[in-house]
């Protein structure tokens, strides 16, 4: 997608030397950024690089220690988001700031009752904007009834209803299907062509290359440089991380073993009796990675929880090497050799106030090797922890460091070290790289592949298509609790995208593991 080079006019928005410190650390260190009307300026950086801090300064949520914000050349001083909005800065948040039980118009009206002239005015405004950009949003629809992609459009309408000159999109594609992402990008381009200045915050290289007019890369709070949209993903990744990175997962063709997890006709009901997993069947053999792709919330979480024994209204069969897991307690499932990386490591995987050593023995709290005569054998525990700290390269001061103070990548390493630290018959990883930096992602991926190469069946649930394509030997796509199809890893992204939206595609389903090598 090439776009006309934007005319070099005066910048609409200019950030000059923005410095924001939190105590001893500098989150933003003299950051300069300019955005012109009619361009999409991409702010690229890893988690924690300072992108969001910068945008919060711009939006008046933080006050910068140094630097200034200029809009159309006028210096601004924002005491809060209200000021920023009035000055013409709109923000589309990663998590929508919408009230689910209100209608679209009511949400747009919220906080601007006078300017919009009441509900009828808001309704009119929604219709107007919706028509102008082809949004197809009904002003009287309730937010909770709308798909995620449409909810995001409501956020955009909200910003536009305030005549935003500058629109900031903060990680907007995180919650979208590939198709919805494409639609969003089309909308962004249209907005740009109408003269809006757009700041697009992301860490997804593919999107950057597709849509950006200019790219500013920040790392560790500093601008490390500008990049052209023609740069390769490898170039962009190295700029973002500060060293050469391996973006593709290196792996050999799978060597299948006799270990197998056979899931047949698995149905899971939630507390309300709704089928959250609907008649799912698949087989994973030792030595292969089955990736479960799909948009968040299509039953993947419940599926993995059912395997672990956390779901209670489960029918069908989960057979691990001839051992039926349905009806077993979590304890029994773990003892059967299931390693599990939960999707939310801070909530389900770790006790933040516990030390690394304690977290590493979290699921082996009775009997050998860590407990003798009802007492925790601290020497054995610490020896194990010291060894894992070394072999998993967990960056911490020591094994006594509380896990809650570690970075996401190191926290995930603790989870992996624990789950891979005992003999396994099955390994299930749910969103294993969510929120991690590139370096940790490389590490996690290599551990997953090593586990597969050890002949263990591996299930990886991921909403990131790049990860799915990189890791998988086969891909199962879930949609509304069911498996749309199981396809080889070389299936095109377009096909996968369609499947994630629920379309059955020719060739799928293919529930048996392919014997041949899959690239």
């Amino acid at each position: 997608m090439t776009v006309e080079p934007t005319p070099l006019g005066a910048p609409t928005l200019e950030l000059r030397g923005i410095t924001k410190r939190f105590g001893a650390l500098t989150a933003n260190d003299h950051i300069d950024l300019e955005v012109r009307a009619g361009e999409i300026h991409c702010l690229l950086g890893e988690n924690g690089a300072g992108k969001s801090t910068l945008m919060n300064v711009l939006y008046g949520l933080y006050r910068a220690e140094e630097g200034e914000i200029l809009l159309d050349g006028e210096p601004q001083s924002f005491a809060g988001p209200g000021d920023a909005m009035r000055a013409g800065i709109g923000m589309v948040h990663q998590h929508f700031m919408l009230i689910p039980v209100f209608t679209v118009a009511e949400n747009v009206l919220l906080g601007h009752e006078r300017e919009l002239g009441g509900l009828s005015g808001a309704r009119q405004k929604v219709r107007e904007i919706s028509q102008r950009f082809g949004f197809h949003v009904d002003p009287d629809a309730r937010i909770e009834d709308l798909p995620v992609g449409v909810q995001q459009r409501v956020e955009i309408i909200k910003a536009l209803s305030q005549d935003a000159k500058v629109l900031v999109f903060d990680e907007p594609t995180a919650v979208l299907t590939p198709q919805e992402t494409d639609e969003l990008m089309a909308i962004m381009q249209q907005l740009r062509d109408e003269g809006t200045a757009i700041v697009f915050i992301t860490h997804k290289l593919r999107e950057v290359r597709a849509i950006a007019d200019r790219i500013t890369v920040i790392r560790l709070g500093k601008v490390v440089g500008q990049a052209s949209p023609e740069s390769s993903t490898t170039e962009l990744a190295s700029m973002m991380v500060g060293r050469a990175v391996e973006l593709t997962v290196q792996k050999n063709p799978p060597v299948l073993t006799d270990n197998a997890l056979v899931v047949s006709n698995l149905t899971v009901l939630d507390a309300l009796g709704q089928k959250v997993v609907n008649d799912v069947s698949f087989t994973v053999r030792g030595g292969e990675v089955l990736c479960i792709a799909g948009v968040q919330g299509n039953g993947q979480t419940e599926l993995t929880e059912a395997i672990l024994g956390l779901q209670h209204r489960v029918t069908g069969s989960i057979d691990l090497n001839g051992n039926e897991l349905i009806g077993d307690s979590v304890r029994e499932v773990l003892d059967a050799g299931v390693g599990f990386v939960p999707e939310d490591r801070k909530v389900d995987g770790l006790v933040g106030d516990f030390s690394i050593a304690e977290n590493l023995m979290l699921d082996r709290y009775s009997g050998a090797p860590f407990v003798r005569a009802g007492t925790v054998d601290r020497e054995e525990r610490d020896r194990f922890a010291a060894e894992k700290l070394e072999s998993f390269d967990i960056r911490a001061q020591g094994i006594e460091t509380p896990v809650g103070t570690l970075s996401g990548g190191n926290q995930q390493k603790v989870v992996l070290a624990r789950e891979l630290g005992r003999p396994l018959a099955l390994f299930v990883a749910s969103q294993p790289t969510r929120g991690l930096d590139v370096g940790s992602i490389e590490f996690v991926h290599s551990q997953i592949i090593a586990t597969r190469d050890a002949g263990i069946p591996v299930i990886v649930v991921s909403t990131e298509l790049d990860e799915v394509v990189g890791l998988a030997d086969r891909i199962a796509v879930m949609y509304r609790g069911g498996i749309v199809g199981i396809v080889p890893a070389d299936t095109s992204r377009d096909t996968l995208g369609l499947m994630m939206a629920g379309e059955r595609v020719a060739g799928a389903p293919n529930p048996e593991p392919s014997k041949g090598a899959v690239a």
């Binding site: 105590g23 650390l25 924690g48 990680e171 560790l220 968040q296 939960p342 709290y365 007492t375 970075s407």
Partner: protein
């Protein structure tokens, strides 16, 4: 106010880490692998507020729990000092002489100031003499000098035991407000074993106490089972079980043939036989009985249980993060019941100590003497650690012992002591307030040690980065 670095969307996002729809940037700690010094510090910082937020949203008790657990010795000492100052103000304000002299304060301010000094110093001196060393009686011999100290230990005995019960439950994320009911059942069971059976001297008191402990455990276990298997919140159920226990035992004390002293009409039990009474450690005039050593033993057991045993490991895991405990295969429901049983056992020890040591002439439904509630304060002040609870119990024992003397000698109402105790809890629950009063930095959740650790970590990371 210091601004704490937050997660990207934090200040405007009411529920920070949403499970569905969360993206890589949400709620996650930013990371820097090969990072220079400041950057690695950044890593740790944004985690804390997000975590707190989660606790707030999920469970209002969770954040209170965290706050209680986050307390430290300095805060406890400052809270005590501040409360004593507030108590001093109240003593001065209620003193007649001070009120009188305040009338002509501007004419002769010295009068009022000296009256304030006399009232406050007199009261606190009496408190000290009643609780620690009675040097006014030193000339009557060493025994009389240190007798107040043993009185303090005596008062502290059930406070420590019951405090352990609350502390243990806290560590599992449970609030046992049911000390009263559990103590009442324990007292009733102990007393019943005492007066209804005849046994050899030492065995009798041991059996009586064990039965009391079991009774307390069962009563708390009911609340634990209700919580685990029906979801009834233990705060509600323990409070309600207090009423059930109180009125049930009152009825039994009123009913001839049950707990009522035969031949009497009052709701009081028969006196304990000599065989079922904990003997005095030092003999008369000291009232301090062997129950105190039982409390010390209980502290040691509780410390092992919480810190060293694998059951304690599971307890703490459930207390900090029940969800992770569940994922690690722990049986959270069963652990909840166990925790309440053990919590009630410590409460039961306190109840048994009351009838076998403190009040051996027959008990009434007031036998708990508010200890079940004071225990909450004691556990809070002790940071919910066994030894912290021990020392907090000693302090409150001292307040009780000294409070009586303060009232007798100086005419200061003993209620002032209750106010001081309550203020201690209030200040402990509001660390920023105390910090502000003493001009301490408001560090969020970071202590100086944490910052030092992080600096070391950063230096180390830099080194590691340079190597690779």
């Amino acid at each position: 106010m210091n601004e704490t670095p937050r997660d990207a969307d934090d200040p405007i996002e009411p529920h920070a880490p949403q499970r569905p729809g969360g993206s890589p940037d949400s709620g996650a700690a930013p990371t820097a692998v090969h990072a220079p010094a400041e950057a690695e510090v950044q890593v740790a910082a944004p985690v804390a507020p997000t975590d707190d937020r989660t606790a707030d949203v999920d469970d209002p008790w969770g954040s209170a729990f965290r706050r209680i657990m986050g307390g430290n010795l300095v805060m406890a000492v400052l809270a005590i000092l501040t409360s004593l100052v507030v108590g001093g103000i109240l003593i001065a304000a209620t003193d007649e002489r001070v009120q009188e002299t305040a009338g002509y304060f501007f004419a002769r301010p010295g009068d009022m100031l000296s009256a304030v000094w006399t009232a406050v110093s007199g009261a606190y001196l009496a408190l000290f003499q009643g609780a620690v060393l009675n040097f006014a009686a030193a000339d009557r011999g060493f025994i009389y000098l240190i007798k107040p100290l043993t009185d303090t230990l005596n008062f502290a005995t059930p406070l420590i035991a019951a405090g352990l019960g609350v502390a243990l439950a806290f560590r599992v994320g449970l609030f046992n407000i049911g000390g009263r009911g559990q103590m009442l059942w324990a007292a009733a069971a102990s007393a019943w074993v005492g007066f209804a059976f005849q046994m050899p001297p030492i065995l009798h008191v041991i059996v009586a106490i064990l039965v009391g402990i079991a009774a307390g455990a069962i009563w708390a276990g009911i609340a634990g089972a209700l919580k685990a298997y029906t979801g009834a919140h233990e705060v509600i159920s323990t409070i309600m079980l207090n009423f059930v226990a109180f009125w049930f035992i009152t009825w039994m004390l009123r009913t001839p043939g049950l707990l009522q002293n035969p031949g009497g009409n009052n709701p009081i039990s028969p006196p304990m036989p000599e065989t079922a009474i904990l003997p005095s450690i030092f003999g008369p005039p000291f009232v301090l009985h062997w129950g105190f050593l039982l409390s010390v033993l209980a502290v040691i057991v509780c410390a092992w249980l919480i810190n060293r045993s694998n059951l304690g490991f599971q307890f703490r895991a459930v207390g900090y993060n029940a969800s992770a405990a569940l994922n690690a295969g722990m049986n959270v429901k069963r652990l909840t019941v166990y925790a309440m049983l053990l919590s009630g056992a410590f409460m039961g020890l306190a109840g048994a100590q009351q009838v076998t040591g403190a009040v051996t002439t027959g008990f009434t439904a007031g036998i708990d003497a508010g200890i079940g509630f004071d225990a909450i304060t004691v556990a809070l002040l002790g940071g919910s650690t066994p030894w912290g609870t021990f020392f907090a119990g000693l302090l409150f024992g001292a307040f009780k012992a000294g409070g009586f003397r303060m009232q007798a000698a100086e005419g200061v109402p003993v209620d002032i002591i209750l106010v001081v105790q309550s203020f201690i809890v209030l200040f402990i629950a509001a660390p920023p307030l105390v910090r502000a009063m003493f001009g301490l930095p408001q560090p969020g959740r970071k202590s100086r040690r944490q910052r030092r650790d992080e600096a070391a970590l950063a230096a180390m990371t830099q080194q590691k980065g340079a190597q690779s």
